[in-house]
Symmetry: D2
Subunit: 385 residues, 4 copies
């Protein structure tokens, strides 16, 4: 039986998008209870948001620093905090809670830049606490199935890793309207050095790495800001070289009309291929070389335990984005419970993206930006993790 | 702001499928707290299940009768009960709770037969309480969008209503193994007179009615039990006539290999057509006559408030079966809150299938079975609701 | 090496649709040369059409009777005639040429009614000539693959045969404009007793029969003419019973907005299922029960000789309607050459729909119309072929 | 009315793939008659092939030089020659026929390298004859529709041009078996400097250019030969910069299991997007920014004359690869007829890829190879055409 964990949240007040997603994800499997929050930097807004969410008034905090201290001091203090602020606040908030001995679930990207991520790594290590990064697409059952099939050698030696994440919502200058999401996501101060690259390209990068199990060693990139006045890229083209000799292309875009959240990964080896797309996450296409293409379905025939353990509904009853997100939350709950009782980490903890994935993502952004500035020269990654 | 309702559950103990679905659906929008249950007719199992779900020992009941009385007597008793037993228990359980003044959320089909459904109608009316039937597919945002488009006349006068719900899991004699789901769903004592017809055909019927807004007046049917030894149909072919002159076909099957939960509705009028399929619920295909087909997406361009109010994630981040189910639960929560405060029913309460939809479904089963027994003769429906 | 056959054509002059299709189909594999024609009942038009097609003036005839006689008398007379007139002319034209000892390739439906088809059967038999009926969908490579897979038992015992052919072009009263296609196809004098049923429903019927290899024994039907003023059905719903106990649904419609030529067949047995759709003819979906669905592609992995012998391009280079049609023409050419040299019919001649398929189709129309007139009563087929 | 042209062919004897395709393409619209050939460099084979194709013995030549002279000398000599040899023979054959005043239809790529292509340009100019290059994908009706929509500004200013052409047939070392296609296509002597790049990447390049109307100015590339022992690339990753500031990615591969002829183009501007894939060529997806995605179908609603003039069958009756190829042949026939009568070139001659497209393709190959050798440095194109 699973003990319910006490959860706090920083950010995610009224009008925020990702905060609501985290809350639903935490609830789906009934593993968490939201009991505390510093939901907004605006005090009135923070209070109103807390009230609306049924958080006790005494545990609605005006600042995350206060919250970290107060919760750490309570006997019934939170077990973990979810950080759902704009990117530039991830670091200070994570630091504050980790230093108070509180586990952290942090939205991606992990920090504003690589240096900060490496600093955070030390803080995580010193804290001895769990740090989970919500690269949520790794929570989809068939993504895990895909990873398992690659690891099991069903594709043979991997040669090609092609990924893309394309959207259209920044096709025009949304950031010049009152669209807050557009404002901070196109602002280097709040978003970091990557535009589409940081916002969604890192998801593609993380997903491709998660499934392929391969490390990128070099990148050659072309970033573009198509919309007049935009500082950060709204389109990224990246060529990749992998440690084992595999090659890849990665494309992120927020200016491709007709695309909503077109995250797609295609991986090919000398024995077979796999294709998965986020907008139809209940299907995985498997092509053993020389045989007909197979359509694997979530919870369907030919899909294994690694996917089935994170499925809730029978095949043909689609699960979606929130269930995939919930899988991360539930895996983290298991990890926290084990940690709290000094048990070894559960077997499937390796499915939880952590500080290593965060660092890898930040280095990816940094090197892609650098390559693009250097007119696309192949730029080595040091392999920070 | 939303007050959290106290929920009880009858059925849904260990190993049950639909009970878990109801629980998740009730949690997703944080509108309910599960506090009481009679989760199994087996006392040990009931207790163990309650414990696993975090239900207080004192509110885990050995029988639903006891639970109904005890909860009604408590000051902090449940606001509503979810009934997730096999079909034949829906009536007695619903009766017990309604008579104690407790709102009911009941899995479909409403009862074991039409007579019982009509009796339940009286009980519901006398109780003055809310009775919601989880024809959950009506909770999908784009199903509601489709209904609105029909109502708004975008398809013109409706001529054709084609629906199907096809599966393959009963292709062989599963009920002769230890598959409990297969056992009770193929047993007339527990399932009622319809096999595939009652289990999934009624979903297709309900969905087609919900979207089209039309009443079936006559049916001509052919039921078949293909698997040797099976008593109830595992395949149903039905021709339909509608009150406005429209015609329809309905096909349900549990012996169609390669199909998981293939629920699909296609509706055509003199001005346009619509197509929606449950396995890809985030897409709705709209064909204005003489123009290119349009792909409408959940939360995407051209989709209206009726769908957007029950969407949680942006377009391209798929929502699925559980979110659709949750929409029913949340609409019921609003309806209960309004009811409890003597406010008028919320505008969108008409999206909640209730006793009328249940009765219509039971009459549909009865008349289809009758037509099939009478070698397909067109058989009139009395239009019970 | 293949000798080129001399072909004549009746009908198919300027403005006709299907005549041009037959001509292209006859040319694709270079097996025929069009040398004679009575292309229109309007003499001027006939002449002009012949000229445009490069037919020698002396072999452009004012009437089919004249043509049959004249060509039979020539040493270099035509080997075969293609009949591409409106339906009511199929019989007299076929009769005229068969009686002159000329092979016939006839567009479907074979005649105006069953009686006429049975009469034609005698004429064909007496003539000893080849009579081919262009139920062209049987020419698609993957349709033949599907038939083979059923015959080989890959689906086990067939239980369900579901077919549909849906269009939208008669959603409004096109026949009241100057649309000649709409005029004759909705006119019982020229089209016969079936509207959508005869025009496209028979294609679905033929295809389902071709693939399944099963005989229909009874039908129960509901025909509707939705468009005001229309005499023949524009929508047909049919339930079917097969000799082996299988059941089926067949739906034809010309009033389903958004559908162009939506011909689709789904067949299910106790060991697996198959699905094929004409608008994507290069894919065949095969579902062995209990295994992942497989996508078979024309000329791709897992597809056999029966399909590959009628494929021209590699997998992934789509073949379409005209190539499928051409396969019939080329099979007929082989059959004619063998016949002319008194050789046994080629092995794959059984892929050519002939008078038997034509009769079966006419009886299907007749019995469906009769069942519908009798309010859907199950109506037996005598099994004419 | 259209006069039938006399066609000769060089290459395309027994066992060749593309020769048969050209012959069918030339026949579909009945615009050509194949009357002469030098079908193989092997004399016996050449003779046998000619016989099988019904070419008169006296016009089956042992060498292309002989054929060019002999046909030029005949009163009834060929109007045009189709060149379907391996790549390295394109130049000498084209030269021979052009110098004899015979129009040329040449398979792609135009020559073995850019220098040769530029030389051929002069020869074409001096000859005054028509030189058509069968970049056949430009013949698909919806490709032309796409080009028209871009030209009409429906996508606004183009920002992104993404193309790919992926196959899997060279996943293993086919060239080390007796697969002749694999042998010459992986041999630099016969294929030129590009492997997958030259064979299929140039198709993607040509198609992207044809639809977008844009010129590539710089490329940065990574070519890989994954299969041990292979000299030419079997995978190409290319980043592109266009003259107007647009950016692109191009990916060609012959080692991507599960892909047959996956040629796909996606183009995005500030007002909309388009997507087209060769394996489903009867669909074109159009996304006006801020509106639902539209599915345009060949010959369907919203598709214009530019596509309809090269369509033969109604919407929903799929046309495929051969029909698209035939459209080129028929356009060339019109152009030749006009040329022969000293009439101005027909309006739609600009749809025929010619020497300019060939040169552009050869320069593309050359610069991509150069960039890849230079470790991906951005390499300028001179814009040869």
């Amino acid at each position: 039986m699973s003990k319910k964990l006490k959860l706090g949240m920083v950010g995610g007040g009224e009008g925020a998008f990702i905060g609501a997603v985290h809350r639903i994800a935490s609830r789906i499997d009934d593993r968490y209870e939201l009991v505390a929050g510093a939901l907004s930097s605006d005090a009135v807004r923070a209070k109103r948001s807390a009230l609306a969410l049924g958080i006790d008034e005494t545990r609605s905090y005006a600042s995350f620093e206060e919250m970290a201290k107060a919760e750490a001091a309570r006997e019934d203090g939170i077990d973990a905090v979810s950080i759902v602020t704009p990117n530039h606040m991830h670091f200070p908030v994570a630091k504050a809670f980790l230093e108070q001995g509180i586990h952290v679930i942090c939205d991606k990207p992990v920090t504003i830049d690589l240096a900060q991520a490496l600093e955070l790594k030390k803080i995580v290590a010193e804290s001895g606490k769990i740090f989970a990064l919500t690269h949520n697409y790794t929570g989809y059952p068939l993504v895990r199935q895909a990873r398992k099939m690659v690891a099991d050698g069903l594709l043979g030696d991997i040669r090609l890793v092609q990924s893309e994440y394309i959207q259209d919502w920044l096709t025009d200058a949304q950031e010049q309207t009152d669209n807050k999401q557009a404002q901070w996501r196109t602002d280097p101060e709040k978003a970091g050095a990557g535009g589409s690259l940081g916002d969604i390209g890192t998801h593609a990068f993380n997903l491709a790495s998660f499934i392929s199990g391969l490390d990128v060693t070099e990148v050659s990139a072309e970033l573009t800001a198509f919309v007049p006045g935009r500082v950060l890229d709204d389109n990224a083209h990246v060529m990749l070289r992998y440690a084992n000799g595999a090659k890849g292309l990665l494309w992120s875009s927020q200016v491709a009309p007709g695309n909503e959240n077109g995250l797609k990964v295609r991986i090919y080896g000398d024995k077979g291929g796999l294709e998965w797309a986020q907008e139809n996450p209940n299907e995985l296409w498997f092509s053993p070389f020389g045989e007909p293409v197979q359509k694997l379905t979530r919870a369907g025939h030919g899909v294994g335990e690694v996917a089935n353990r994170v499925s809730r509904t029978p095949a043909g009853h689609p699960e979606g984005y929130l269930e995939g997100f919930a899988n991360l939350y539930s895996d983290v709950a298991d990890a926290i419970l084990a940690h709290n009782e000094n048990l070894p980490a559960p077997e499937f903890s390796n499915h939880i993206p952590g500080i290593a994935a965060g660092i890898a993502g930040m280095e990816f952004i940094e090197k892609v930006v650098q390559s693009s500035r250097d007119n696309g020269v192949w730029t080595s990654l040091d392999g920070h993790k």
